[in-house]
């Protein structure tokens, strides 16, 4: 049954040393920044972290890495212009890196949540990221066997939760959230809005069975969503809607 808590600190209180933690987000979209900050405060260490990246600048995951609280990271794209804390830890040999193509990362998490023991993927075949892995030719195409990933905890950001614990997301902030929610023993969610009514059963992205702990934390997502809602209610176009095509914009230059 989903529990609702009041603070990010309470939400992450059960994350223990040595845990495998799935962190949602792609860039800033869908990144559970306030939960990660609380995890930082909690002191949990020796973590294995699964995330698309390996932290940026001086915030969130980057700080966890800076403090050497992450023993291992499983990700697709650690190196960025502002990934200096990861870069330093990696060069010092103080963090283990498992580099996984982004789609294999998503599919391994999906397999973890779906009870699949392993799957043959064409992605990465013949590359050094498949070195040492079992391969197989199936109907003329080459595949690599990949294993599921499961987490003890998932920390994700959704847009809204209903009182039953069902979730909806917002635009491309959805990204890894729904998959990670299925792949963790304990899924912790920060949402901009905790609703008083049930969500439309047809539009739910993450059913309540996958959510364990939810905390409401207003962020910029809420501001934008209210703007969008007001615009639509007033019969105006969505603010994020394109007004011109790329071709038109290019022609203007």
């Amino acid at each position: 049954m989903t529990e609702f808590v009041d603070t990010a600190a309470e939400a992450v209180a059960s994350v223990s040393n040595g845990a495998t933690v799935l962190l949602g987000g792609f860039g800033n979209a869908g990144q559970p920044m306030e939960l990660i900050d609380a995890l930082m405060e909690s002191g949990a260490t020796d973590l294995t972290v699964v995330n698309n990246n390996a932290g940026q600048a001086d915030a969130g995951l980057a700080l966890l890495i800076k403090e050497r609280r992450v023993a291992k990271i499983i990700c697709s794209f650690p190196r960025q212009s502002d990934s200096w804390h990861f870069d330093e830890a990696y060069r010092a040999g103080e963090i283990e890196l498992e580099l996984v193509p982004q789609g294999n990362l998503a599919e391994r998490l999906r397999a973890g949540g779906a009870g699949i023991g392993g799957f043959f993927t064409p992605t990465g075949y013949g590359t050094e990221l498949a070195a040492g892995k079992e391969t197989r030719e199936i109907e003329g195409r080459h595949y690599v066997l990949e294993a599921p990933i499961r987490g003890d905890f998932a920390l994700i950001k959704a847009y809204a939760a209903d009182p039953y614990g069902n979730l909806v997301y917002r635009k491309t902030a959805r990204n890894f959230g729904p998959v990670m929610a299925t792949a963790a023993t304990h899924t912790i969610v920060q949402v901009d809005e905790v609703l008083e009514e049930a969500l439309d059963p047809e539009a739910i992205i993450t059913p309540s069975i996958y959510t364990d702990t939810i905390v409401g934390i207003p962020t910029g997502s809420g501001t934008k969503q209210r703007e969008e809602r007001e615009a639509l209610a007033a019969g105006r176009r969505k603010p994020c809607l394109a007004t011109k095509t790329a071709a038109e914009l290019a022609a203007e230059k």
Binding site: G27, Q102, H142, C240
Partner: protein, 222 residues
């Protein structure tokens, strides 16, 4: 659609001309993923009448141009983490569904940059294999094998003059036998896995020069 006969011009194509040429070759109604960087400029030449739908691997079909002013929404970004806009008919989905769409061969065309391409269509675009470099692959390997056609957009030679089309890639591979066309400043080359490179267009270089500068690679004109 391309007319498949051998063509030449006197000078290499500019980057914009190249983007235009690729856009021309994308069939109306196609679903397309444009890689980060130079391939993104192809969208500048996709006329709305063509109804080409753009896919971004972080979970969206039907995104529009870069967001400006009040359009900017940090929950609406492309794979390059640039804020973009939404077009009518757009759809959002999660990461596993997004890559299933790609891996399952549902995209018509993917346009990518490259460090190197081999005559048999191997692609190297994620790592130069430099010792001590921190590796990062992102969606490169998924994109390479994830469309009915993978087009590479690149210069034919590096700034130092090294060729990028080789008998075999020397950099770490992104995908094996996955590239079907190379759109380069100096020509358009069709690859079919046979190892023989079909030359469709040459711009500012002669076929003889192409052959001279690519020992070990077999070229044929269309």
């Amino acid at each position: 659609m391309s007319t498949e006969t051998f063509r030449t011009t006197e000078t290499p194509l500019t980057q914009d001309e190249l983007a235009h040429a690729i856009a021309e070759d994308i069939a109306p109604g196609s679903f397309v993923n444009l890689g980060i960087g130079q391939p993104t400029t192809v969208s500048n030449y996709l006329s709305p009448e063509k109804q080409v739908t753009l896919h971004t691997e972080n979970g969206m079909l039907g995104f529009g141009p870069k967001a400006l002013g009040e359009q900017v929404d940090e929950d609406l970004i492309n794979a390059g983490k640039i804020p973009v806009t939404e077009l009518p008919g757009a759809a959002y989905f999660h990461h596993a569904d997004s890559f299933a769409m790609m891996r399952g061969g549902h995209l018509d065309v993917c346009v990518l940059g490259a460090y190197q391409v081999s005559a048999s269509g191997d692609l190297a675009n994620w790592s130069t294999g430099k010792p001590g470099a921190i590796p990062a692959v992102g969606g490169a390997m998924d994109l390479a094998i994830g469309a009915k056609d993978t087009y590479v957009m690149m210069d034919l030679f590096t700034k130092k003059g090294d060729r990028k089309l080789l008998p075999e890639c020397t950099f770490p591979l992104t995908g094996v036998g996955c590239v079907s066309r190379i759109y380069a400043d100096m020509g358009v080359f069709l690859l079919d896995g046979s190892g023989i490179v079909k030359v469709r267009e040459l711009h500012g270089i002669s076929l003889e020069d192409v052959r001279d500068r690519h020992p070990g690679v077999e070229f044929e004109t269309l």
